[in-house]
Symmetry: C2
Subunit: 312 residues, 2 copies
Amino acid sequence: MSESKGIAYSQGRYMPVDEATIPLLDPAFTKSDVVFDVVSAWDGAFFKLEDHLARFRRSCEYIRVKPPCSEDEMRRIMAECAVRSGFDNCCVYFLCTRGRYAGGAATGDPRESENEFIAYAVPYYWIVPNDRPNAGAHLWVAETIRRAPNEAINQRVKNFNRMDLTRAHFEALDNGADAPVLLSLDGYITEGPGFNVWILKDGKVLTPGENLLEGITRQSVFELCADAGLQAEAADLTKADLQDADEVFVSSTGGGVMAVTLINDKPIGNGAPGITTSKLSDNYWKKRSEGWDSTPFSDILEPEIPQAAGAD
Amino acid sequence: MSESKGIAYSQGRYMPVDEATIPLLDPAFTKSDVVFDVVSAWDGAFFKLEDHLARFRRSCEYIRVKPPCSEDEMRRIMAECAVRSGFDNCCVYFLCTRGRYAGGAATGDPRESENEFIAYAVPYYWIVPNDRPNAGAHLWVAETIRRAPNEAINQRVKNFNRMDLTRAHFEALDNGADAPVLLSLDGYITEGPGFNVWILKDGKVLTPGENLLEGITRQSVFELCADAGLQAEAADLTKADLQDADEVFVSSTGGGVMAVTLINDKPIGNGAPGITTSKLSDNYWKKRSEGWDSTPFSDILEPEIPQAAGAD
């Protein structure tokens, strides 16, 4: 299992991630009462760490949990997880759980809980296959399930309430596709599990804007498009818009910008990864190698000591 | 913590429930990819155990997990949890988790997972307060959140995707109420966390029928109404229907039939528990004491050995 190697931080100590657990009675499990975020690292440096921390802070505020440590401590714990894992390239998950409370999950008062901060590093991964010569991923717009609406499950908050995503994932796999994309209740494309979706149509780059997690990599793609002089904006998109696009790609912390070449068995364009997609992906990795919004582990773990005035 | 005492069964062995855990990387946690059910026991006997097992089977089929044990083994494990806990009166939770799979939760194939069966007993509890002299519970129809629709999260399947319920719970507690009730997206009453809602209006007993878990105790209330010659049926109900009802009550495995006397600060009827509610509640417990759909632990753990023909 690719996720079986890595180090976790839980209950104040570091351990192999396979040994880390959640109490069976923790509402983080029995009510999925937890928020999380995932930041990637490449060559020993986090990417857009502060953006991930800011989103995590908003997620915590929404469900009313408060990590029992400062953001400085979080940064250090997350860097420690990566370094102790021996990973230069990895994804670091970080969570805040509700934790248990007096009276128990069924009848107690969740406002009186002891929230916990957990983090763990896993090897870097690509959320959809990205290694097929001359071909991209096969996405499946789910027909048997819709994405839970923000009115019920606020999808701007990164959460583990994923029964809809999992059901769509089964449908995608059963149909020979790599990953699902879910429609909103009103029939517009939202997102897939762990990624946002994009199309290129008539020179314009478009991505859904409603009922989804606004990915940090999604924000990065807007930046990449601006760099390239491409017009990019949020838009309501249907399954037909995806299938009729000139190019389709996905964006994710797990892989950056990745080409999609099939939507529900229908080839996109000429069936090969698009030229604009490839340029955006190349530029994503080029900019990262140049230190784009980068925070080296070493800057967190061994901060430079400011030179005292007058010292010699 | 009332739930801190009890025995759990996990990974093939029995242990104090406080020591039972879920692996941090199990999709049962990171995707809430798990179904469950809860059966109550009183005086050493389960109530409607077969109905709970049948619903659990349907839940498992929906998310495509298969407990790695037979239903006979489940019955025995659940009775063992209760007996080893020393509980005559308790609730026994039983779960089937997705379990881990090759490739990890982010990129692996959930169809190739090793599903796990977990059970645990906790002391019997009342899902809303049921011990106030001349007063019932205060329910709060949530205004800031709606119940996730079946199109996204199938609520007929008993699941842990409860971010909507938890947010509503906070709203209820913040307003001094005991528990929330959630509206569907189209504005009709659905359910609260762990219970169904009922009204008595002009001699008729009504309960919502859409976008909710069809409780086993809900089914029991239909039986109790039939016994009492009361007309009972499913109906679309609004918050105003609750507030204008002659009586309001809830039904749950955790407490049976329980009076509600306030809805969003508005007293129901004369503000005291209703006469019909009290009769239904009394009859619920009377029938249970008489062995209604009852399965004693001892029948499961020490089945009577059929006498062999011709033995003397």
